[in-house]
């Protein structure tokens, strides 16, 4: 009798353990993302949320990650760095998330990087191109755009060197920029400035002489506008026009600023040879500027026609699949603000599968071991990273608005389907 009781008790214990294990297996895998859904970055933040949601929904439809459904926790940080920090702390220490997705903008990503490093979390950034973020010595940090902001100018220099005929190249430039973390990074690269570490004032990189000087382009006018509240666009555009610059570089921090600057340049009847903006690939840029956008160059990390093949939930998932899925879910053509976070989500998913668990140390190790031959495959193309966490040998795409379409024009040898660049720009 006694033996029978012990046998039954033993069986019950085993059953309960099995049930417990099964219950744990069924527990959703929580992933947190603090995003600027309101405030100054709300336009991009909302699209980031859409990118993350579409990716998580698709993963869940395909059976989840390691057999577990993904539960996405999104909090609105109101475009405020302190709130973003608090929300990631809360995700990790209160909500018990097993992984996180990065936030939008260098301004928010810079402080968030320290918090995630302190908590030993893999930090996959959809936006945060300022070089200083990657030189803080954080491990497990991985950028999901082609390169740091300071090196964006290489693509513009490449366009001028390779696509503009000799004798017609611009010789003078007006560089106007938002006083923004990311835009300042691009500025440093173009103007050949020193990048300093804000913590101890040490030199991070000396970017002299800069991409413009390397291409024999003289800067005849340069100006920064404040990050928020600037409204004197016509005055700025008029100064750009009066400088007589043949190349206009507008380091806009948002599509909204790109719209304002383009409309102002049209009003003052500026007629440069070439115009490059750091933001302006979004559909609302075209809506706000109409035919004035014609010929404007904008760098991007993603393009809807790029033939990137990737994987999601262990199955092939191409860039074309992403565009179709996004259109079906949100009724609009996606832009890079939705595509980049989608790629971040793919990267985290592949890291969890690669590590076989949500152990962030193992995930980080797996991501850092990626190579050109064995990369992370996303709708933004293939990713492997250098020791700083910046992608290795990955060029930005240079796009140009032509006939109301954003066409990619450079580099010309990356893949098929590159359009001819229109030049010169002329009037807006």
């Amino acid at each position: 009798m006694k033996r029978a009781i012990w046998t039954v008790a033993g069986l019950m214990s085993v059953s309960m353990l099995a049930l417990g294990a099964s219950a744990q297996a069924a527990e959703p895998l929580k992933i947190g993302a603090s995003l600027p859904l309101t405030g100054g970055f709300s336009i991009a933040g909302t699209k980031h949320q859409q990118g993350y949601e579409l990716c998580v929904d698709t993963i869940n439809e395909r059976g989840g990650i390691l057999g577990r459904q993904v539960e996405l926790l999104v909090s609105d940080n109101r475009s405020d760095p302190a709130t973003a920090i608090n929300q990631y702390e809360r995700f990790i220490n209160v909500d018990g998330v097993e992984a996180v997705y990065g936030t939008f903008s260098s301004r928010l990503s810079f402080p968030v990087a320290s918090i995630l490093a302190k908590n030993n979390m893999v930090h996959a950034l959809p936006a945060g191109g300022a070089l200083r973020i990657y030189t803080q010595g954080h491990k497990n940090i991985f950028y999901f755009q082609p390169n740091a902001a300071e090196y964006v100018g290489a693509s513009l220099a490449g366009v001028i060197a390779d696509l503009v005929p000799e004798g017609e190249k611009p010789k003078t430039a007006a560089v106007v920029s938002a006083d923004d973390f990311f835009a300042n990074g691009v500025w440093s690269g173009l103007m050949g400035e020193k990048v300093m570490d804000p913590a101890d004032g040490s030199l991070v990189r000396d970017l002299a002489p800069g991409y413009l000087a390397e291409n024999d382009i003289e800067v005849v006018f340069s100006e920064r506008w404040p990050e928020e509240g600037y409204s004197d666009w016509l005055n700025l555009a008029n100064q750009v026009k009066r400088s007589g610059a043949e190349l206009i570089v507008g380091l806009t921090a948002s599509a909204e600023e790109a719209v304002q600057l383009t409309r102002a340049l049209k009003t003052v009847r500026a007629e440069p040879k070439l115009v490059y903006f750091s933001q302006g690939t979004q559909a609302e840029y075209l809506e706000g500027t109409g035919s004035s956008a014609e010929g404007v160059l904008v760098h991007t990390s993603w393009h809807k026609d790029a033939p990137f093949e990737s994987v999601l939930a262990g199955e092939p998932f191409s860039n074309t699949d992403f565009v179709a899925a996004y259109q079906e879910k949100f009724g609009a053509v996606p832009d890079e603000d939705a595509a980049i976070p989608f790629a971040v989500c793919q990267g985290i998913e592949q890291a969890i599968i690669g590590a076989g668990s949500t152990d962030n140390t193992a995930m980080g190790k797996w991501l850092s071991e990626r190579t050109k031959e064995n990369p992370v495959r996303t709708i933004l193309g293939r990713f492997n990273w250098d020791e700083l966490g910046l992608p290795a040998n990955k060029p930005f795409l240079m796009t140009q608005w032509n006939d109301g379409e954003l066409q990619f024009v450079y580099p010309t040898d990356e893949f098929e389907g590159v359009s001819a660049m229109s030049y010169p720009k002329g009037s807006f």
Binding site: I43, E223, R224, E228, L234, R242, K266, G288
Partner: protein, 292 residues
């Protein structure tokens, strides 16, 4: 010389738009002592009215202006009845309304974001990016039309306040609420109508803003400090003061932007706010508060 003249024109052009943006804020404070932090978000709401009229039906924002005034005025009436009327006699009314209007601003921003997404918008009638060139100097037609219409609306409001019977009542209430009530003025009705006019002016400003600046629901946070500096410099509650301050600060900001730097042009508004509070807290046209 052409540079100076051009800078002056651009400053004046911007000032006209700011004048209308600030006038509703000034009126509501003058009559009701409400520091309406929700005023800029109401301007955004007015801009959306113009935007959808333009986008869906191709109606010019200038034509949509009266529609925006009516829609926003009705919203103003509802808002006043729901939020502000009950506490109108409280001794701490002004202080309370700062918090109340802050909450209203956040709620309206959220509602606009939910209805229209956080995507930035702008209307694009042909004149919005055109200019009249006289030699080297140009006058941007968008700002010119917006500025002229702003002044016409403000002048109309000033005439209404000065010569209409209801205008007397509003001015009497502005000067001394208790005395006006003792003399038979229905101050509750005056407050309600004034609030509706103030929010209606936000609607009008929104229609004009829709083709001068791009906008999205959260944009109002960038405007509140600028508008407050205009109203404080002009004298809280003084319509004329708001207009003068708008032109003055916009012209100064334009010169600062041209000759010192764009970064400092925005600072002009905040520096002016700081200085006026130190030197003349009642503003250029405000009355010195009586000592208790």
């Amino acid at each position: 010389m052409a540079d100076i003249l051009q800078t002056l024109i651009l400053g004046l052009a911007l000032g006209g738009v700011f004048a209308l943006m600030g006038s509703g804020l000034s009126l509501v404070f003058g009559v009701m002592r409400i520091v309406n932090l929700a005023h800029p978000v109401m301007i955004i709401a007015g801009a959306y009215v113009a935007y959808w009229g333009f986008k869906l039906y191709g109606i010019d924002p200038l034509v949509m202006l009266p529609v925006a005034i009516v829609i926003l005025a009705v919203i103003g009436i509802l808002l006043y009845k729901l939020v502000f009327e009950r506490e109108a006699r409280s001794a701490k009314y002004s202080e309370m309304t700062v918090l109340l209007t802050f909450a209203v601003a956040m709620i309206v921003e959220g509602a606009l974001g939910g209805l229209f997404t956080n995507t930035q918008r702008v209307t694009s009638p042909a004149y919005a990016t055109d200019a009249i060139f006289i030699g080297d100097v140009f006058i941007p037609t968008g700002q010119l039309y917006a500025g002229i219409l702003s002044l016409v609306i403000i002048a109309g409001l000033a005439l209404f306040l000065k010569y209409s019977r209801f205008g007397y009542a509003i001015r009497a209430t502005t000067q001394n609420r208790e005395a006006a009530e003792l003399l038979g003025v229905n101050v509750s009705m005056v407050a309600l109508v004034s609030f509706a006019i103030g929010i209606g002016l936000a609607g009008a400003a929104g229609s004009l803003v829709s083709f001068v600046f791009s906008f999205f629901p959260a944009k109002h946070w960038e405007w509140i400090a600028v508008l407050m500096s205009l109203v404080v410099l002009g004298g809280m509650g003084s319509l004329l003061g708001t207009v003068v301050a708008s032109f003055l600060l916009s012209v100064i900001a334009a010169f600062v932007g041209t000759y010192i730097g764009a970064t400092w042009s925005t600072m002009t508004f905040f520096l002016a706010l700081f200085l006026i509070l130190l030197v003349r807290p009642q503003g250029l046209f405000g009355e010195k508060p009586e000592l208790a």
